[in-house]
């Protein structure tokens, strides 16, 4: 009963209109079996071709490449090649930032350098952890602690202080 009300509430909440995703967060979400959250939380998920290439190359490692099979996912063909000055960014990150800047959509990034570069260009940035916080708030996941535990067990280096802050924000401490 309570679960049903939570679902109803989730349907009333605004989704992220359009989210362009980097490979890293897709890999992280796939590692905890939550790739589907992108479908639950967003009206549209943009996967730049360069990002998909990174995911597909690692298809032997995980299922992150399946992001393009989400109902609301759109694979963007290569279209941007003029950002060579940002040498510390990978091809996927470059395309995420460029797409987000041109189309004024939210970028999903975990890499610190890429996030700062995106914000400097006025782009709204979310990360894997903030996406999980939204999912918790909207009732798509019950608790973050078990998911974060799975990530850490899989080798994700999340400092104790960071985890504590996230769990506090999620109301789990």
């Amino acid at each position: 009963m309570g679960r049903g009300r939570t679902r109803e509430r989730a349907q009333l909440l605004a989704k992220i209109r359009s989210l362009v995703v980097d490979a890293g967060p897709c890999i992280a979400l796939a590692s905890i079996g939550q790739l589907g959250l992108l479908e639950e939380l967003c009206e549209e998920v943009i996967v730049p071709h360069a990002v998909f290439q990174e995911l597909a190359d690692g298809a032997k490692f995980d299922n992150a490449h399946l992001v393009v099979q989400l109902a609301n996912a759109r694979l963007m063909p290569p279209e941007i090649s003029t950002l060579a000055e940002w040498r510390n960014l990978g091809a996927g990150e470059l395309h995420v930032i460029a797409y987000a800047e041109i189309h004024r959509v939210v970028a999903l990034l975990d890499d610190a350098y890429a996030r700062k570069a995106a914000r400097r260009n006025g782009i709204e940035v979310l990360g894997t952890l903030s996406l999980l916080l939204i999912a918790k708030a909207q009732g798509h996941v019950e608790a973050l602690a078990p998911l974060i535990a799975v990530m850490r067990a899989g080798g994700y280096r999340l400092a104790d202080g960071l985890v504590l802050d996230v769990l506090r924000a999620a109301g789990e401490t």
Partner: protein
């Protein structure tokens, strides 16, 4: 040319303290395991550790010069092996010299084929090493024949070079291993490089948060709230 010279070409820092943790780990790995061959073959877990070290080694920025020098050294090493093969009287050892030469050529080509962006990726070797022997990682590597062949190639090659003047039996064994790996790697260099890129992306993601400062944390903790209402 000794394995040590192949690993650390002349002119580069000699002090162990100046070498990266990954490099020291690779040396330790070779030193600890090579003398036992061929009685105890490498297992998948060992190969996985070797691959982990190899990726972090090849992709750390400070190693770009090392790779260039290593590649040049392998070039001169190829000449040495041709001469050694020519001068060798024993047929089996002559064949093994040719196998080592072939393996060195493939390894050199592989190093030269590493794209610039892969070389310059800032993978943190020490952090990567701290991940240790996760069962999940070992399973992933062990299921990927490209990565196993790639891991075995430098180990077999360097161990063969180290054994050539000391232990003919070990030399024959590792020369065969080296050329077998080389023949698996050579036609699949592009697939292997893509697999390495994919693994590097995953290594980077696992370490992404260790680069975060207070500003990043504050941004993350503030950014989600408008979607939660």
């Amino acid at each position: 040319m000794s394995a040590a010279e192949l690993l650390r070409p002349p002119g580069l820092p000699n002090s162990p303290a100046e070498l990266s943790p990954a490099f020291r780990e690779l040396r330790r790995f070779l030193t600890d395991t090579a003398p036992e061959r061929p009685s105890t073959p490498l297992d998948d877990a060992e190969l996985a550790v070797a691959f982990q070290v190899l990726v972090s080694e090849l992709t750390s920025p400070e190693r770009a010069a090392m790779i260039a020098a290593l590649s040049a050294n392998l070039g001169s090493a190829l000449d040495d092996w041709v001469k050694r093969e020519f001068n060798e009287a024993d047929t089996m050892l002559k064949l093994a010299c040719r196998q080592v030469g072939e393996a060195a050529r493939v390894y050199k080509n592989l190093l030269n084929a590493l794209p610039d962006e892969l070389r310059s990726l800032a993978v943190h070797a020490a952090a990567s090493n701290r991940e240790g022997r996760s069962d999940e990682r070992v399973a992933r590597y062990a299921s990927n024949q490209d990565l196993l062949a790639l891991s075995l190639l430098p180990i077999a090659l360097l161990t063969a070079v180290e054994a050539v003047d000391r232990d003919p039996g070990n030399f024959l064994f590792w020369a065969q291993k080296a050329v077998t790996s080389a023949r698996l790697v050579e036609p699949r260099i592009h697939e292997i490089l893509r697999a390495m890129s994919a693994e590097v992306a995953r290594l980077e993601e696992r370490g992404a948060w260790s680069e975060w400062d207070e500003e990043e944390l504050a941004s993350e903790l503030n950014s989600w709230q408008k979607y939660a209402r």
